[in-house]
Amino acid sequence: MNVELRERSELEDAHGAIGVRILTHAAEPGDRTDGEAVFELDNVSCYYGGFRAVRDISLSIRKNAISAIIGPSGTGKSTLLRSFNRMNDLVPSARLEGSILYHGVDLYDRKVDPVEVRRRIGMVFQKPNPFPKSIYDNVAFGPKVAGMKGNMDDIVEESLRRAALWDEVKDKLRQSGLSLSGGQQQRLCIARAIAVEPDVILMDEPCSALDPVATLRIEQLMIELKQNYTIVIVTHNMQQAARVSDETVFLTMDDDRAGYLVEHGPTPQIFTNPTNRLTEDYVSGRFG
């Protein structure tokens, strides 16, 4: 408790302009070594044809925690995130060097099926993209294509409850998913991702298209979800990263326009006592 208060007053002194508000207990610096690593990246570089978007990233993502990837625009944060569930495979010229281990298994091994990868590592996109079907069919789609057994009605209800959307839609499950508000649509996309019972949920700027009230609800949802899932989010909003995440990864780029890892650590430490000068400049708003 004392640690929290001290950190907060230091924040207010040193970075008064940011106005960080900590929603729940902050991770202690020591927490990082506890908890198993879900992803381990070793010298990962992502290329689009001849252009290197991300270079030599080595880090590990902790289980049941929220890890935020922050940095200025164009530093390859989304590219890095999409490499976690092999969504970059959809771009013909994309390739990866280095290795990403998921629970010890190389994700880009020839024997690994990207479809299976995506069932375990789900993704929520920046702009909510519900299917042009009913709310029920939206949530049921994932389990159906995965061939999941079990009562579909129960699966749909459970997923919508976990996404904190059930009470709002339980009477209109047959209505189109597009009839919901922006924040509700995004929660529907989260429910849809949860329905296939993934291990990890990747979120690419999930709140950037939403109003502050919807944003707050989704942030609260993320904190509830991390008990059961590992969450990695990319965000442009530094304050959001400080509010919500347990660990923060800071990327920036040089003149070669390839994003590289500057610092990775527990969120309170990154924001109050960063070890790298660049990190300090970014979180205090001097560039970016």
Partner: protein, 314 residues
Amino acid sequence: MAGDPIMPATGRTRLASAGARRATESALHNASSRDHLTSVIFLALLLLGLSVALFSLAALLTWSLIEGAPRLGLELLTNGPSTVRPEEAGFRTAILGSLLVVGGVVAIIVPVGVGAAIYLEEYADKERWWNRLIELNIQNLAGVPSIVFGILGLAFIVRGPLSLGFVAAAGSLTLALLVLPTVIIAAREALRAVPASIREGSLALGATRWQTIRRQTLPAALPGVLTGVILAVARATGEAAPLLLVGAVTFVTFDPSFLEGAYSTLPVQIFNYSNRPQEEFRVLAMAGVIVMLGLVLLMNSFAVWLRNRFERSW
């Protein structure tokens, strides 16, 4: 008048601000009269073009109805053709022939056309030269005159490798080749119009590419695909030239079948009747035109209803 926002206190500033206001007023009000005239003329031309099109269509329909009305009746649909007794002639065999041929066309163009569009849009690597060649060929085929397809059908379907003979199936195949590019192009546009975010969302949930196409992309593209099929069917129903070459004879007294025997279709029958010297046959031909328009309208209405059922908004 201190504090009055419109009229300042001193005389000189009052004059100055009134002048400024007048200048602004005249600038804002003075839409160039030449611009205004140009807009009006342009609008008038557009309306004129629209009226010409609508008027021509209305004139055609009205004239057909007036000319053909004397012969409209149920026996028109149930009687077979006759060369000597126009008052007893009907379009029965022609209608059946049309239904058979067009039915065959639909059975071919829907799987082949939609399949080709799915391949080109979802699977083909657009950088490869052979895929671009296929695309170019399809665009070109859409412009080939219909009689060329008649010759093609005669050489390869009726005779040649397929050797089906002068049967309705050969007519179906020939017309299917004719309208296939229309369906492929329309289906491709429909598939392209489905936002990439839908495909991404589906794949991110762990669906395979085929599952995504079958369960998300294709259902979402259905309205556009059906439009292409409607256009193709309407064209195929009205084609006479290629069928004449492929064996749609003009005098068939028995009900046609798909794979054997002679057949006829509505446009061909109308053509035949309108060539005869007797006045009654001309009236019969106009009645046939009405029947054909009715048939096309019926098929189109069904397809439009089907399309509306699947209409979605983004």
